[in-house]
Amino acid sequence: MILAFHTMRRDWFSNLRGDTLAGAVVALALIPEAIAFSIIAGVDPKIGLYASFCIAVVTAFAGGRPGMISAATGAMALLMVTLVKTHGLQYLLAATLLTGVLQILAGTFRLGSLMRFVSRSVVIGFVNALAILIFLAQLPEVTGVGWQTYALVASGLGFIYLFPYLTRAVPSPLVCIVALTAFTIFFGVEVRTVGDMGALPDRLPIFLIPDIPLNFETLAIIFPYAVTLAVVGLLESMMTATIVDDLTDSTSDKNRECMGQGVANIASGFLGGMAGCAMIGQSVINVKSGGRGRLSTLLAGVFLLLMVVFLGEWVARIPMAALVAVMIMVAIGTFSWDSIRNLRKNPKSSSMVMAATVIVVVATHNLALGVLVGVLLSALFFAHKIGKIMYVGSTLAEDGLTRSYDVIGQVFFGSADRFIASFDLKEAVEKVRIDVGRAHFWDITAIGALDKVVIKFRREGTEVEIIGLNKASETMVDRFAVHDKPDAVESLMGH
C-alpha cells in the first residue's frame, strides 16, 4: 500500500510544472492532428477530437507508460476508411468498442511479450511507413487548389521550423496556426477551412451506445476491422512505449499498457470517438517539452477538449493549409532519419526487411499487413543464417571400407537439404558411421533427412551406424528446457 502510494506520487506529481507545460503544448499539437486524422478516416472532425480527449484521459490513468501520449492516430484512421465509407459511423463506433475488448484480452493473455518477435528493422519500417502515409494523406488537400494554398503551406512550415530560433517558449505549430488563420480572415483569402470539413464539437461528449443491429451479421462486418485495429494499435503503442522508455531512461509495464489502450478505446467508442493508440510524434514532443508523468497525458486531453469546445468557432476558421503544414511536420518528425543513413551500413537482410515493410504498408495502407510481412521475412532470413551453421566432415578408414561422417551444428528445415547433400551416396564403401553427437536436430524435417540418408546408403548395400542420436534430438522436444545455465549453453553451442 505504501509502495502503491509511493509509485502514485512519483507517476503523477513528481513533475508538476513540466507536466503542465508539456500537456498544454501537446494539446495544441493534438488538435490539428485529431482533425486531420478524422478527415483521413472520412468522419467529422469532432469524432477524432472526442476520441483524442477520451483516449488521452483514460490512458493517463490506465496506461502502463507514464508520459506517453495516446489519441486518435493516423495509423488507425487509415484502417477505418473502407468501413466508414461502406457502413457508416455507427459501425465504426461498434468496431472501436470491439477493438478495445480485443486489446484488453491481449493484455490479459500477456501478448505484449510477442513484441519480441518484431525485429528492429520491422519497427523502423513501420515508423517510416507511418510517416509516409501521414504525408501522403495530406496530398488531397494540396492538389487541384490555387497557388494561395501552396503559399500558405510553405509559410506555415516556415513558421514551424524558423520560429523556434526566435523563442522556444511558445509552441511554433501554434504560432503557425494563429498566424495563418489571422492572415486568411484579415485579408479574406478564399481557402478551405476546418469548418468546411464537417461538424466540430459544440458540447462535452455524452455517453451513447452505437446504433447498430446486435446480430451476427454486424459482428462479421466489424470483426476483421477490429482485429487489424487492435493489432496495429498495440504495435504502435508498444513501439512508442519503448521509445519513451529509451528517452526517459525508465521502464514501463507493457501488459498494463495493452489493457489501458483497450479501456481507452472502449471509452472512446461509448463517447462517440474513433479508435486510437499511442502516438510516436506527440510522445516525442511531450518528452521534449519536459513532460514525464501521467499528469502530462491527462492535461493534454483536458486542455484539448476545453480549447475545442470553447474556441470551436475559431477552430472552424483555421485554414486547412495550416493543418497540412503541421501534419507535414509530424510526418517529418516521425520518420526515422537514421534508418536512411544506416541503410548501407546495416546488413542487406535488415535493410530488405525494412524496405519490404514500408512497401507493403504504402501499397496496402495496412500497417498490420506490413508488419506481418516484415516479421515473416526477418524470421526467414534468420532461419537462413542459422542454417549455415552446419558442417559435415568425413574420414575414410585406412582399409578403405568404412567412412565416418561427423555432423556439427544445427539441422532443421532450413539446412536439411544441405545436410543430405553433404553425404557422398555414390561412394562404394562397406560401412558408414554417422556421428551426430555434436549436431542438433531441431524438427522432424531433420530426422526425416537423416532417415533418407540412411535408406539411400542401405539401398546401395552399405551398412549404416548412427552415433549420438539421443543427444542430438534432445532439442526436438517442444518444451525443450531453457539453456540459461553456463554449462548448458556450452553444450548447446560447442559440444
Partner: protein, 284 residues
Amino acid sequence: MKTLVLGCVDGSTYSPAVCDAAAWAALQLDAPLTFLHMSSKSQLPPKADLSGSIGLGAQESLLEELASIDEKRGKLAQERGRQMLAAARDRARDAGVAAPERLQRHGGLVETLTELETGIRLVVMGKRGEAAAVASEHLGSHLERVIRAMHRPILVTTKEFGAPKSVMIAFDGSATTRKGVQMVADSPLFRGLPCHLVMSGAETAEARALLGHARRTLEAAGFEAPAVILPGEPEGVLTRYQKEHGIDMMIMGAYGHSRIRQLLIGSTTTEMLRKSTGPLLLLR
C-alpha cells in the same frame, strides 16, 4: 564469507551518526564493515523546450541530448557519492575499524538491500534521507519500505550516536520479540551492558511468565536484566521509561502486524521511530 555490517550513507545530516553506529556495531560484532551509497541522479527533466516542433531525426537528437544531460548528472552524482563514501571510510577508520569497504550502486535502495540481503548481518541507516524534510516528524520515505522488505536487524540512528551504555528491549510477548531476546542474548553486540526488559499493558499471569522467561534467558547469557510491566499504551510507557532510566538504545520487533491493521490503527513501530530520541534497533 562473513556476513557484514552495512552502513547506508547519503548526503543527509544523519550520515556521520550512521558511520559512528556502523563502526561501533562492526567492532562489537567483529564483522566486516561496508558503507553503501546509492547514487541517484535527478529525474527532473532539463529546461523545457516548448517549441513543439519536431524535425528530421527529432527522436535521435532528443535521445542524444537527454542522454548527455543524464551523463553529466550521473558523473556528478557518482563523484559526490565517492566523496561521501571516502569520508565515511575515514571516519570509521578513525573509530578503529581496520578496513571498511565501500560500495556504490545505482537504483533503488530497497531493491539493492534486498539483493544484498543474504550477505548482511546488520543494516545501519539514518532516520531520514537526504531528500526528506528535516524539521518534521516525517520519516525518510525509504525507511519504512526498507524495514518492511528486509529480514535482517536494522539499526536506525538519530543525528548523534554514542556507544550505548545501557539498552532496553520493548517486550510484548510476541514471537518476534521472544526471538529478539534470544538474539540479544546470543549476540556479542550488547555484551556487558545492562539490558532492561519493558512490557506495557496489564500485569497478567501470562505476561509475567513470558517476561520471566525472557529475563532468565538474558541473565543466563550474563546480562543484567531488570524487567518491569507498566500499565499504559506502549509508545508513552516505553519513551517515559527510557527517559527516566537514561537508556541509550531501544530494541524492538518491527511491524508485527498486517498493513491493514496499520492503516486502521497505526503502527507502534512507526510511532516509536517518529518519537524516539535515541537510536532504535529493529528486529524482524
